[in-house]
């Protein structure tokens, strides 16, 4: 396994009374695609926000490139974030700017490049995601899949060391899904970065990942390569990978016995 880029140890995090993470520990290598998978509501997006320093844990540490994210000053955290790209589920494009200006935004904010250079870079990034022709469109004119591709171009604008993908496949038609799957794989190889994909879409995510962490009930349930996890005999992993309706995650939400409910 290559060098570790993200190291999470004994992470505890709650929202109100609800415990999201209860002593979660995991490592993410500097190269390759690491998938973090689990059922909806297990806190996968929350984990990305904790890695990006947008949320603060109750306990435990998150280290990115050897720096404890939650002990950094705002200036240092922002410096670190310039080396992180994040693709939000909604795309999070700035709606008052065109596609071109959205991708140019981080370059204009953080570099002193002239307009000609910015134009070159933006068109190259847009070309990489196949949307050079959509440079003048506004975000409201894009489909969901196109928005995510523009957001991906923006996420790689500053050539980051890691890219975090928050549910990249949710709500995509098969063609957009195929495009995103191959883009993630190709960009990861071409840029030689660390890609973290958070998803609950089993077949597509496993097809592109090098390492997978399954999380449930605030902890890592099982980790390994996609092949190892597909053959896993652990009940929870089997249920999740094969989409069984009943198993360690029960079909019925906890309730009183039905006879008691029906007849008192």
């Amino acid at each position: 396994m290559s060098e570790i880029l993200v190291k999470i140890r004994d992470l505890h995090f709650s929202r109100g009374d609800r415990k999201i993470f209860d002593g979660l520990s995991l490592d993410i290598p500097r190269q390759g695609i690491t998938a973090i998978m689990g059922p909806s509501g297990t806190g996968k997006t929350t984990l990305l926000k904790l890695i990006g320093g947008q949320l603060t844990p109750d306990q435990g540490t998150v280290e990115v490139d050897g720096q404890n994210v939650h002990q950094l000053s705002t200036a240092k955290l922002f410096e670190l974030r310039k080396r992180m790209g994040m693709l939000f589920q909604s795309g999070a494009l700035l709606t008052d700017l065109s596609v071109f200006e959205n991708v140019a935004y981080p370059l204009r904010e953080h570099t002193r490049l002239d307009n000609a250079m910015i134009r070159h870079l933006v068109l190259l990034k847009l070309n990489a995601v196949g949307l050079r022709g959509a440079a003048d469109m506004m975000p409201s004119e894009l489909s969901g899949g196109m928005s995510r591709r523009v957001a991906l171009a923006r996420a790689i604008a500053l050539d980051p060391m890691m890219i975090m993908y928050d549910e990249p496949f949710t709500g995509q038609d098969p063609i957009s899904m195929g495009v995103l799957v191959s883009l993630i794989r190709e960009l990861n190889s071409a840029l030689d970065v660390c890609s973290i994909v958070v998803s609950h879409d089993v077949p597509d995510t496993l097809s592109i990942s090098d390492l997978v962490h399954f999380i449930s009930a605030g902890k890592v349930v099982e980790s390994g390569t996609p092949e190892q996890l597909q053959e896993s005999r652990a009940d929870w992993t089997h249920q999740f990978v094969h989409g069984d309706a009943d198993g360690p995650v029960p079909f019925h939400y906890p309730a009183r016995p039905i006879m008691e409910d029906l007849y008192g």
């Binding site: 926000k49 990006g52 947008q54 705002t74 922002f78 410096e79 974030r81 310039k82 992180m84 994040m86 939000f88 589920q89 909604s90 999070a92 494009l93 700035l94 709606t95 935004y105 981080p106 904010e109 953080h110 957001a151 923006r154």
Partner: protein
Amino acid sequence: MISKLFDRLQHIGSATLKSFQRLGNGTVFLFKVIGSSYGLLLRPMQLVRQMYSVGVQTMIIIVVAGLFVGMVMSLQSYYTLVDFGAEDSVGVMVALSLLRELGPVVTALLFAGRAGSALTAEIGLMKATEQLSGMEMMAVNPMQRVIAPRFVAGVISMPMLALIFSAVGILGGSLVAVELLGLDSGAYWSQTQDKVDLYEDIYNGIIKSLVFGVVAVWIAVFEGYDCVPTSEGLGQATTRTVVHSSLAILFLDFILTALMFSK
């Protein structure tokens, strides 16, 4: 019975605590916004763009409202003053009422309804669509790029809008008094010029509108930034902006009037 009483007491207590906590959060937010505003010196175009959307686009409603308020004031003053043979003072009555009270207060109320609610909705929607989060992850501080330009633009625009409101109101008043009621134009304007004091009336009015501007825009941007990012949460935040700003403006008007015009 007693347990119900305790429940109610507990409910009141927790609601009060929540209100104070929100007020505290809002105050910290205000200081952060003020602290983030220096960056606008380097990016003046951001401020200009926001002044257009917050100030210039609010001007039509301000001008129309100012015109009618001035005209109504002129009619009402005339009907009262004519009984005492003091109808020449209509101009003074209109000008003082507008500059001291109606200009700042009505402008602020209209501003809260038009620009304040739009600010809350815009910022809240940016939060709901993760645009603010996206900026943070691009190492861009939304406080500097989104909140501060809107806040400063609102604070600068308010006194200007209030002055425009009062000026148009005085013109509207003269239109009714001179053209409709047949008063002498010279009397209207010379009495107004004679009795309106630059410091006591105009400056105090500007100070009032500046204070109302800070409060109305502060509430608007805070409600947007702090809203629950759902359609229901956004609707509630927009309503709160209009209600809280209006109440705060009326309350502050009483305090400021008591402080400024006490003899």
